[in-house]
């Protein structure tokens, strides 16, 4: 019988290792108060982690050990295990909508969309978040980007058609200017700030020194969010109204191609096999787009999926410019 015990012991030792190695995707179902945990190998939802009320966005901690998700109506930041998606602990924070760490990993900026405030927090693994600055904003502070040196954070003000720049060190508002109709996603690129304009049909290229719009790049109606490709050569833009994803050449910002993507494309993550994982906000699904062919498949998740995180991405800092 000794071999049986040895076998069981072996299984017991190997099981956690196998669990650790499992690539998972976490999808925040904003109107379903849950996080869908998807096995990336089979592309099947393996469980739903209940949260309190309305989870929207998700980000990886600078050391890669924790995933932070904001539950806006539940007024909580959830700390998840990136290996399993289990909730490890919770911290009370008012209305945490978007959240993003600075490139140097020292601060976390959180937008309070429904309270017109932007919070800048210091983060340590032991104590969690400590408020450094609370900055009053105009209507609906939404998406976030940083200057590469982490000195300035840029926040789109969705309800007032503006972009604001905040000094990370002092919390002072450096400028707050109009950039176009309903600004959403923000991305720093080549000494410019790119802003998706939901109420227009493209992105604004903004001068980070004073916020004036240098030019527009047409992508599609309802340009929403922007993402670098893993190799850093392309920028993908989700166009909510047009139902497309536009690919831009990063160097020239010229349009290379469009993919038709139904269901109100929102956030994108990149799997190691090159597939784009796209949340379909109003079709309650995650879509897997092969960028080589433009073909896709999809699975159902919960109601109104918004933020997405792939734990295969946990050793690369998401906010750094590739």
């Amino acid at each position: 019988m000794r071999w049986v015990w040895r076998g069981l012991l072996g299984v017991a030792i190997l099981l956690p290792a196998a669990a650790l190695a499992r690539p998972l995707a976490f999808v925040l179902n904003s109107d379903d108060a849950s996080i869908s945990i998807i096995d990336m190998a089979t592309r099947r939802e393996i469980r739903r982690e209940p949260v309190l009320r309305q989870p929207h966005h998700i980000t990886l901690s600078p050391d890669g050990k924790l995933v932070l998700a904001g539950d806006t109506v539940g007024n909580q930041i959830l700390y998840l295990d990136p290996e399993t998606g289990r909730i490890l602990r919770r911290q009370t924070i008012s209305d945490p909508y978007q959240l993003m760490f600075s490139p140097d990993g020292r601060v976390l900026t959180v937008t309070g969309l429904a309270r017109n405030q932007v919070d800048i927090y210091a983060f340590t693994d032991a104590t969690g978040l400590t408020l450094l600055h609370r900055v009053p904003a105009r209507s609906m502070p939404s998406h976030i980007a940083y200057a590469p040196d982490s000195s300035v954070v840029y926040v789109s003000l969705q309800g007032s058609n503006r972009l604001m720049a905040i000094s990370v060190r002092s919390g002072a508002v450096l400028w707050d200017v109009p950039v176009g109709e309903t600004p959403a996603g923000v991305l720093w690129d080549h000494d410019h700030v790119l802003v998706g304009l939901m109420g227009e049909d493209g992105i604004a290229v903004v001068d980070p020194t004073d916020g004036h719009v240098l030019r527009m790049v047409r992508t599609g109606r309802g340009a929403h969010n922007l993402f670098f490709s893993p190799d850093g050569r392309l920028i993908y833009v989700t166009n909510r109204v047009a139902g497309t994803i536009t690919v831009l050449d990063r160097a020239s910002l010229t349009v290379l191609r469009d993919y038709r993507v139904p269901g109100g494309p929102d956030d994108i993550e990149f799997a190691p096999d090159g597939t784009l994982w796209v949340t379909q906000r109003f079709d309650h699904g995650v879509l897997f787009l092969d960028p080589r062919t433009g073909t896709y498949s999809r699975i159902n998740v919960g109601r109104s999926p918004h933020g997405i995180f792939l734990n295969t991405d946990r050793h690369t800092h998401r906010t750094e410019e590739p």
Binding site: A33, V73, N75, S94, D95, M198, G264
Partner: protein
């Protein structure tokens, strides 16, 4: 599998609302529009379901028969406006910035609205149980809102519009003065600051509770019996609340879903039979006027004109 109501709401959002918002330069409300699409689709389902359930019951077991039911048409209008969310949407958008400022003010002062789960951590991970507990607490709060609205003169002046209907049917649940609805929204907004917002992912459970509230107004001889009738509000129980002799402060049976609060606080009356309904103390326009005439009559009554309320006696 996706809930078919969710699919319809998603379709409406993608193919109607989002393009419309984009053309109208209103994309800032895109998220809200989706919430409204869900509300409207489930609201339409509520109306269809209560129609399918209540019409046969009112035909088979009527309390009263009326040769002319034109006054019910106004109640149908109230129901559609309320249940598909036109009025809640207008209220939400109108007060959005006020709410955002209030949220910011409270956050600045270190107050973050808690949730029931924070008080009762064992509820974490049990959203259906949490939802039911919220439903009970909110029904308790609604009992007191409703009872107080009968006691305070100016509030009764508004609320009497709801009681004026002599042809009470399942459509009568939503006939309210807009200011009375607004006070109700503020009441529940204040409670949300104390105990948080209830879980929102169970529209089918909300649909069931709203169906029960509609049924309680039905013109039907339906009694839930001595046991179930003390668990859920029946049409017979709620009809006593609307009785002609029970207007204003004289009323009883204030509960909307559960009769427990009336039993606990001494306002339950299980003895009254299927009484005629209405408020003889109010202007006729409150009972049989058009939607606008009813709203204006309520306003006149609030301002001390027209027939005066008999709330505090």
């Amino acid at each position: 599998m996706i809930d078919p109501f969710d699919s319809i709401a998603g379709y409406v959002q993608l193919h109607v609302l989002v393009p419309l918002l984009w053309h109208l330069d209103l994309m800032r409300w895109e998220d809200l529009a989706y919430g409204w699409a869900l509300f409207a689709v489930y609201g339409a389902a509520q109306v269809a379901l209560m129609f399918a359930l209540c019409v046969p019951l009112e035909r088979l077991f009527p309390v009263e028969r009326w040769p002319d039911q034109r006054v019910v048409l106004t109640d149908i209008f109230y129901t559609v406006v309320q249940r598909v969310g036109v009025l809640p949407l207008v209220t939400f958008v109108g007060f959005y910035e006020v709410q955002a400022r209030l949220n910011g003010f409270l956050t600045d002062h270190g107050y973050v609205p808690p949730t029931l789960e924070r008080f009762l951590p064992f509820l974490m991970g049990w959203p259906v149980a949490t939802f039911l507990l919220y439903a009970i607490i909110l029904d308790f709060a609604d009992y007191w809102r409703h009872r107080i609205s009968h006691r305070i003169g100016w509030w009764w002046a508004l609320h009497s519009l709801h009681h004026a209907q002599r042809q009470m049917t399942f459509w009568s649940d939503d006939r309210n003065h807009v200011l009375d609805d607004l006070i109700g929204a503020l009441w529940f907004g204040a409670i949300a600051l104390l105990i948080g917002v209830s879980p929102m992912q169970f529209p089918l459970l909300v649909l069931f509770l709203r169906l029960l509230e509609s049924l309680s107004h039905a013109n039907a001889r339906i009694d839930f019996g001595p046991v179930l009738g003390r668990v859920l509000v029946s049409p017979r129980f709620h009809r006593a609340h609307h009785g002609v002799g029970a207007y204003g402060a004289r009323s009883c049976n204030f509960g909307a879903v559960f009769p427990w609060w009336d039993m606990l606080f001494g306002t339950a009356d299980f003895s009254r039979d299927y009484v005629p309904t209405g408020d003889p103390s109010g202007d006729e326009a409150l009972a049989s006027g058009s939607y606008l005439a009813q709203q204006m009559a309520g306003l006149r009554r609030l301002l001390g004109r027209g027939k005066q309320p008999a709330a505090v006696q």
